[in-house]
């Protein structure tokens, strides 16, 4: 009982303290807001994103902040729910009065928050995958990660190089898996590729052998593409070897974290996927401008969190630094000026590639920022 009472007391004190700080804020800071899926099914995206932002904001403040002002970071967890995301977005705008926003681990929450930041005329950089977020271009909205058309495009490019034209697909019911599947199926005929089998699995399923047997029994399949993220692709990969399919398997950049290799085990050998250069930082040529940035981030993240680096956290890093550079160029945190400067970003070197924003392109990445990577003996291997 006393324990419960004590924890209630501590809780009450903490709530009061929290309210006090949000009322008595210092006006001489640069306020950056963030709403991420830190818990829930997409926590493997939101968690590294949060850790990355916290890590760098701390460092930037230790080095004096930006434009002589300290940074203040407001992070909320939407649990993957778009309604909660929108409520927190409103809170960032109305209560925390943020100057800029880096938010949205998944497409659903990113789009749900979009109009809040547009109405508040606040620069907003999304960390979610789907191209839909910035097509058509919206004045205040930018986004970091590579999109599903890019992932399909890069895989098809590699397929054609290997002269494989008849494929099967197996996709998860998560947002990313569905969006990428739709894109690949739509894009295939234009690229001269035939999709002869199209299977689906639930995002939390634990055995995909029935779907894979159906693919195995479909004549003529020369390669298989698995669209999805989370644990699904790891189980697909293991079941793929279990039922003895021998044609090449492609994953998307939805699995670009070392934990995928650990989870899939030896079955991951030979899998190809398009992903950011960050995964193969050590193998990049010394002349490659991405090498230093990618290697620095990888070393720092792994040292501070004890967890393997993923491209997801990398995008949060890129978003933060792109924003900081825009603020420096703007000479202030003025929302309109910072937005204009983000749009003028040229040749920004991030872990995800070289970013060139323009008034017609708020993603700023092209296919060259993607590398085709093969998994070999438990590690990423750049396909030359």
């Amino acid at each position: 009982m006393t324990m419960i009472r004590r924890s209630l007391l501590i809780g009450a004190a903490a709530i009061t303290a929290g309210l006090m700080t949000s009322v008595a804020y210092a006006a001489d800071t640069v306020r950056i807001g963030s709403v991420l899926s830190i818990t829930g099914p997409a926590s493997f995206l939101g968690d590294p994103e949060k850790k990355t932002l916290e890590m760098y904001v701390r460092d930037l403040n230790a080095a004096g902040g930006v434009n002589g002002k300290k940074l203040e970071l407001f992070i909320y967890d939407d649990g993957g729910d778009s309604n909660k995301a929108r409520t927190f977005a409103t809170r960032l705008v109305e209560e925390d009065k943020v100057d800029a926003v880096i938010a949205g681990s998944i497409t659903g929450t990113s789009i749900a928050m979009r109009s809040v930041f547009e109405d508040a005329q606040t620069p907003y950089i999304s960390l979610a995958g789907a191209a839909e977020i910035v097509t058509p271009v919206r004045k205040w909205v930018f986004k970091m990660p590579h999109t599903e058309p890019m992932s399909c495009g890069k895989i098809f490019e590699d397929l054609k190089k290997r002269k494989l034209t008849t494929i099967a697909m197996i996709s998860g019911t998560d947002g990313w898996g569905k969006a990428m599947r739709a894109e690949c199926v739509a894009m295939a005929p234009k690229e001269g590729i035939k999709v002869v089998k199209d299977e689906i699995y639930g995002a939390a399923d634990s055995d995909m052998t029935p779907q894979l047997i159906n693919i195995k029994n479909t004549p003529g399949v020369q390669a298989v593409i698995n669209c999805g993220f989370g644990q699904g692709p790891a189980i697909v990969t293991r079941n793929y070897r279990q039922v003895g399919i021998t044609v090449p398997l492609y994953q998307s950049h939805g699995v670009s974290s070392k934990s995928f290799i650990n989870l899939a085990g030896p079955a991951a050998n030979g899998i190809r996927l398009p992903a950011a250069a960050l995964l193969v930082a050590t193998q990049l040529a010394d002349s490659d401008p991405l090498k230093k940035v990618a290697l620095d981030y990888k070393t720092k993240f792994e040292k501070e969190t004890g967890q393997p680096v993923s491209t997801f956290g990398g995008h949060a890093r890129d978003a933060l630094f792109m924003l900081i550079e825009a603020m420096k160029r703007a000479g202030s945190a003025d929302k309109a000026k910072v937005r204009d400067e983000i749009e003028k970003t040229k040749g920004f070197i991030g872990t995800g590639g070289v970013i060139n924003m323009s008034p017609t392109d708020h993603l700023g990445l092209d296919l060259t920022s993607f590398r085709m990577i093969e998994i070999k003996d438990g590690d990423w291997q750049l396909v030359q």
Partner: protein, 290 residues
């Protein structure tokens, strides 16, 4: 034919996982009328604690033992700190308390361990057996044998030990059991501990196949609960059969009908079964007393 066999193997593997969760549900339900929605968290904890104990350098057997003991303790604490103090509350209230407990356990796991997906090595390698053109992973066999052994142990415990009989008596009629001198509160506590251990064993057995992370319990609880109800709430054999049938349904419809709507097929069958057999496959006919 090979497909049929493959879908069966796959369905049994998935079903065995549901069966273990359903079995845990059943024991607590029998003793207390409560559907324990933190049952999925027991399974998750079993896997997660083993993973972290192994990462700390323990051999797998010892790590598994640590996990089982730890989760049993969690089960005991859940009863002592959350269920027992609410003694006398309606079963709906107690169920919501277990939902609160599942949110709490998930939250603590995320903080104390982590939020990443984890894996355990399969106990007997990952080279599949090939039987009649279909493949079966050694770990699937381990899970199936494990389910059978757990069921056997539960049956022996219930029918051969005094403690088990007091559990049965409490399940049959709590007031009468109390009158014969059974400490029903202790019996319910014991049901939580045993269910927690079953959950932990389940988690350790299935993690090499399904992987695990702090949020894995929710889906397992949902499917396990569906299995337990399908079999007939309160019947341990019904729970296991219900779980297996649910797994088979899902994988057969994924293979033969539509992988997109496989969960839908499973639930439609459950609805049809309940419309014709309102007490599930093995449920006892109960008469409501006025």
């Amino acid at each position: 034919m090979a497909e049929l066999l493959q879908f069966t193997f796959s369905g049994l593997t998935v079903g065995a996982i549901y069966a273990l969760v359903a079995l845990g549900f059943t024991l607590i339900y029998n003793a207390s009328d409560v559907a324990n929605f933190a049952q999925g968290e027991f399974v998750m904890l079993g896997g997660m604690v083993t993973v972290f104990a192994m990462a700390a350098g323990l051999p797998i057997g010892f790590a598994a033992l640590v996990a089982i003991v730890f989760v049993a303790l969690v089960g005991l604490l859940l009863h002592r700190l959350a269920i027992e103090p609410a003694r006398g509350a309606s079963s709906v209230t107690l169920i919501i308390i277990t939902i609160g407990a599942s949110i709490f356990l998930r939250g603590m796991t995320a903080i104390l361990l982590d939020k990443n997906f984890h894996n355990l090595p399969p106990f007997f390698g990952s080279e599949p057996f090939v039987i009649g053109g279909a493949t079966l992973l050694p770990q699937s066999l381990v899970v199936l044998v494990g389910v059978a052994l757990v069921l056997l142990a539960v049956w022996l415990f219930m029918s051969r030990t005094l403690l088990g009989k007091s559990l049965l008596a409490t399940a049959a009629n709590r007031t009468a059991a109390q009158l014969t001198g059974i400490n029903t509160s202790a019996v319910i506590g014991m049901a939580f501990v045993i269910s927690a251990m079953i959950g932990a064993v389940g988690g350790i057995l299935v993690t090499p196949i399904t992987l695990t992370y702090y949020d894995a319990g929710t889906m397992l609880a949902l499917k396990g609960f569906a299995g337990a109800v399908l079999g007939g709430m309160g019947n341990p054999i019904g729970a296991v059969v219900g779980g297996l049938v649910l797994g088979l349904l899902e994988q057969f419809s994924a293979g033969y009908l539509s992988s997109q709507y496989k969960d839908a097929v499973a639930f439609i069958v459950i609805l049809l079964v309940l419309f014709t057999m309102p007490q599930g496959l093995f449920g006892a006919k109960t008469v409501e007393r006025v």
